[in-house]
């Protein structure tokens, strides 16, 4: 019940929002905040439940190679096709659900000022987030796919109606590219369904199938690239800068913070987990692509004049780390990838939230038109700096933990791929740390430091209470994970072991 509650609570909230008459716009906001807040509380409770169950297994869990799923709910659905309503939670899901819950709560707080068609906005946002939660907890491929599409589509309207700039173009580009990715995923799923010979979409059951090597070699890239589109894999990332910069604040937060993680999550959970031979065959290739991702994103960010484009490109670079870690195909790399998903989610959420708040005051996002804003909005500036430092991997913040894991993973290599090449890729990728430092410090310096250039900006106010709450939560999470990473790592490790086990690697 617990897990279903997590998935359908946002839908229920959306329903309540739709039922509320338009003129009570305050009530609509309060319902959304209350619903997502309740969700956050529920998520934390679920984490404890998860711990309680996992503790029961004791040491077994630390070393176990079997797939262990908690809080499982299984109801047969379209029985004749082997489709089930099958949800549950393991370590990776838990991390992602917590991330999403935090982001949507802060996102709703950050969009307190949405006045135009507020009812539709919050309803769509909540429907979207239902899809995201659904993806993270479903262990039936059909269910997974259904939620996945549900998470992508509301984006069109959210960007198209409430966006800024070339919003219709960006919305259409984003939707179509993501859905083309999902078309490939769909083909891959059918191949798994029929190729396994089990005629089931049950992920756990499929994981016991032994697919022929040739089969794996053509299905793996289908699924990986399909998820790569949403995970901003190099040549297919082009939707992301346009989409993120045109979207309204909460949507950018959700999209860059959570939706892009669906890519990494799916690639790890489905592509690598079910098709280990395919992963070994293609791993190096994708590692190369993601190296380009990491560098391209960070170099791209240097030249951006618009704060949102700036953050979007840095997102492309950081999401590269996720797929990079996964294609390293070892324990360290995958662990790093999941931590990076979490850390980047919070970080980007924070960035886009802050940009929205700054934009709401200055009405410009062009970096060169701002300057000295730290004097008038110290809270926002501080948060921005903490986020920026996390993104360049300062020890003590979550970004460092994630990136160090990923790079170590790249260096460790694995038994199936050329170690030398992997080391070279990793070396090249580490360059991005320097580049990131350049663009983050330069960009933030121009926006927040120096004298106030525009006189109009000198009487702008600092963050309001809801904004302080929303950014405060995100900064706190960044610091907590940075100082005490085991809180995350302990949860993730047992969930990664089965993946490694299927790959046949040592732990």
């Amino acid at each position: 019940m617990q897990v279903s509650c997590l998935v359908f609570l946002p839908l229920l909230t959306a329903f309540l929002v739709i039922m509320t008459p338009r003129r009570f716009s305050h009530l609509i906001r309060w319902i959304s905040v209350f619903g997502t807040g309740l969700h956050l509380v529920l998520t934390i409770m679920t984490s404890f439940l998860f711990w309680a169950e996992a503790k029961g297994d004791g040491e077994l869990l630390r070393t176990s190679l079997v797939f262990k799923l908690h809080l499982v709910e299984k109801i047969s659905w379209f029985d004749s096709l082997g489709i089930q309503y099958f949800v549950g939670i393991d370590g990776i899901s838990l991390a992602m659900v917590v991330l999403t819950s935090i982001i949507i709560f802060t996102g709703v707080l950050a969009s307190w000022n949405v006045k135009e068609r507020a009812k539709e906005f919050f309803a769509l946002l909540l429907i979207l987030v239902t899809g995201v939660f659904g993806v993270f907890v479903s262990f039936d491929l059909f269910l997974f796919f259904m939620f996945y599409e549900l998470a992508v589509l509301p984006m069109y309207l959210l960007i198209g109606i409430w966006g800024t700039g070339p919003k219709e173009y960006a919305a259409m580009k984003l939707t179509l590219m993501l859905l083309i990715g999902s078309a490939f995923i769909l083909v891959g799923f059918f191949a798994l369904y029929y190729g396994s010979g089990f005629y089931t979409f049950d992920l756990i059951k499929l994981a016991t199938a032994s697919f022929p090597v040739d089969f794996q070699r053509w299905v793996f890239p289908m699924i990986f690239v399909g998820f790569g589109v949403i995970g901003a894999l190099y040549p297919l990332h082009t939707w992301s800068p346009d989409g993120h910069s045109s979207a309204p604040t909460a949507v950018s937060m959700l999209h860059a913070g959570v939706l892009m993680k669906l890519g990494g999550y799916g690639a790890l959970r489905i592509a690598v987990f079910l098709l280990p031979e395919g992963a070994k065959y293609w791993g190096l290739f994708f590692m190369g692509l993601t190296t380009i991702n990491i560098l391209y994103g960070s170099f791209g960010a240097i030249w951006q004049k618009d704060l949102k484009y700036f953050t979007a490109y840095s997102s492309v670079s950081h999401c590269g780390f996720v797929l990079f870690g996964i294609s390293a195909l070892n324990f360290m790399g995958m662990k790093g990838a999941v931590i990076q998903m979490f850390s980047h989610g919070i970080m980007t959420g924070l960035f886009f939230g802050l940009i929205g708040m700054v934009y709401g005051r200055t009405h410009t996002r062009i970096i060169s038109e701002m300057g000295g804003l730290a004097r008038v909005m110290p809270w926002l500036a501080t948060c921005f700096y903490i986020g920026g430092l996390a993104s360049l991997g300062l020890p003590g913040l979550s970004g460092f933990i994630a990136e160090s894991h990923v790079f170590l993973g790249g260096f460790f290599g694995n038994a199936w791929q050329s170690g030398v090449l992997m080391k070279i890729f990793t070396l090249i990728a580490t360059l991005s740390i320097v580049v990131t430092a350049v663009y983050v410090l330069r960009g933030l310096g121009r926006v927040f430091q120096g004298p106030i250039e525009n006189v109009e900006f000198s009487n702008l106010g600092d963050a309001t209470l809801s904004e302080k709450l929303s950014t405060g939560i995100l900064v706190a999470v960044l610091i907590v994970v940075g100082l005490y990473p085991s809180i995350l790592i302990d949860v993730i490790e047992p969930a990664i072991r089965p993946v490694l086990n299927r790959l046949g690697g040592k732990i």
């Binding site: 029985d79 939620f147 549900l150 309207l157 219709e168 999902s182 083909v187 059918f190």
Partner: protein
């Protein structure tokens, strides 16, 4: 045969009662076809597994659902044609239009043809019922009697006659090869020979005409655009269903389906691709819906790729998608019919700002369009998923990829309308009313289109009927 008799009696009653009623009381006439259809609907469920006329007319497992489909379509269309018949529609108001209840009589005749088509087990019955389900449509298409409508009617007659001649030639070759009219007997005794292939090609092209498969779709755009919108809706749902039934009859009973797999896959890929690509550039909503319907036919025939054995999911998936498509397409068309009735405008641009002036209607339309594009959790998604699964089960992964990418293309143009309704600013703030019966039907269809995808009962029932 009771169902068909009820439909025919209703048609005749309507025609005769119409003669004796005064102008003012004619409103009452609407209840006759609705009542008749309701009766026919009920009667279907009491008639399963009957054979009459020495097996030439029978009602077996899946036939039941096909008949239900046709009756439901006709029911919705009758309600939707209310304002058109009473002459309140802007579509026809520039002409002096008399109350025209013959419209419904002809529609009912046509419906009976489709019902016969489902049950026909004999070449001749099959042919005659097919004609009965096509000829009345020629008249209905030309009903508006303006330039476009007449042109559409003429085009439809000429090409329809050609297709039916091809079909007849094919049928006579079958008869010549086997010496029997019985479909199942033909299937058993026919040998593969060059003449057989020739006849098959003729028959398939006639099926392609009825089902608007590429390259036999040429008639469709002009006819769909010229016909009264009600008729366009009927053409795109019921007439397409009739084409599917014809295909099912012939492939299930005569042909060995597996030797046609590649041809079907190719036709399917061509149909959906052309339909989708051409739909992108359409400006007229009726023409647009025509190409959308063409591409949907491409998806529909994917269901034939699974073969007909009792354990296969192919035919149930096909029938399920037929329902899902029918319902969602009718949702969209109900809105389009209402819109054209009220404003007389037919362009996609005219839908601008509909979400502000008529939020609920725009929402229904959006749900319908998303259903056609196959977005979860709507029934269109589940239906397509099943069909893709059928194609994948026979190893046609490339077709699944083509179809999935086509779904994305289709989403692009469906989103164009959504964009007009939701994103573009409002130009005209005049609001129009929708009559109660249409509102009820629209509401229930929207709910059905959502529920069919979430509740497995309906699909499982179809599957059960197919297995028994």
């Amino acid at each position: 045969m009771l169902t068909e008799i009820i439909v025919l009696i209703t048609a005749f009653t309507l025609m005769f009662v119409d003669l004796f009623l005064k102008r003012e009381t004619r409103y009452f006439l609407m209840s006759i076809p609705l009542g008749g259809l309701a009766l026919a609907f009920i009667s279907v469920f009491f008639l399963s597994n009957r054979k009459s006329f020495g097996g030439q007319f029978s009602l077996e497992n899946i036939d039941l659902w096909l008949k239900v489909f046709f009756i439901l379509c006709a029911f919705v269309i009758v309600i939707a044609s209310f304002s058109f018949i009473l002459g309140e529609s802007k579509e026809t108001c520039h002409k002096k239009q008399i109350y025209s209840f013959e419209f419904l009589t002809i529609l009912l005749f046509n419906l009976s043809g489709m019902l016969f088509l489902v049950s026909a087990r004999d070449l001749l019955t099959l042919y005659v019922s097919l004609e009965l389900s096509t000829l009345p449509l020629f008249i209905l298409t030309a009903w508006k009697r303006d330039a476009l409508s007449s042109e559409a009617g003429l085009k439809y007659v000429v090409l329809g006659a050609l297709a039916s001649a091809l079909l007849l030639l094919g049928f006579s070759i079958f008869y010549g090869l086997t010496g029997t009219m019985d479909l199942v007997l033909i299937g058993r005794s026919i040998n593969v020979s060059p003449l057989f292939w020739f006849a098959s090609a003729l028959v398939i092209s006639a099926i392609g005409f009825k089902l608007t498969l590429v390259p036999f779709h040429m008639w469709a755009p002009d006819v769909y655009q010229g016909a009264p919108t009600v008729v366009t809706a009927y053409l795109s749902v019921a007439s397409k269903g009739a084409g599917l039934v014809l295909m099912f009859q012939i492939f299930f009973r005569i042909f060995d389906i597996s030797s046609f797999y590649f041809a079907i896959a190719l036709l399917s890929a061509l149909t959906m691709t052309l339909g989708n690509v051409v739909a992108i550039v359409q400006e007229n909503i009726k023409r647009f819906m025509c190409f959308s319907a063409i591409s949907q036919a491409g998806y529909l025939i994917m269901g034939f790729l699974g073969g007909f054995n009792a354990n296969s999911q192919a035919v149930p998936s096909l029938v399920f998608y037929l329902f899902a498509y029918g319902i969602t397409n009718l949702v969209v068309f109900l809105v389009v019919i209402w819109f054209i009735d009220q404003t007389g405008k037919e362009n996609i641009k005219d839908f601008q700002g509909l979400s502000r002036t008529h939020p609920l209607i725009a929402l229904s339309m959006m749900i319908g369009l998303f259903g056609l594009a196959g977005i979860p959790p709507l029934s269109g998604f589940i239906g397509k998923f099943f069909l893709f699964s059928v194609a994948a089960s026979s190893g046609f992964y490339w077709l699944v990829a083509v179809a999935a990418i086509n779904s994305v293309i289709s989403l692009y143009y469906y989103l164009r309308i959504v964009r007009q309704m939701y994103i573009e600013p409002v130009l005209e703030t005049t609001t129009f009313s929708m009559n109660l019966s249409t509102r009820c039907v629209l509401g229930s269809l929207v709910i059905a289109s959502v529920l069919l995808g979430l509740v497995p009962v309906f699909y499982e029932t179809i599957l059960w009927t197919w297995k028994n």
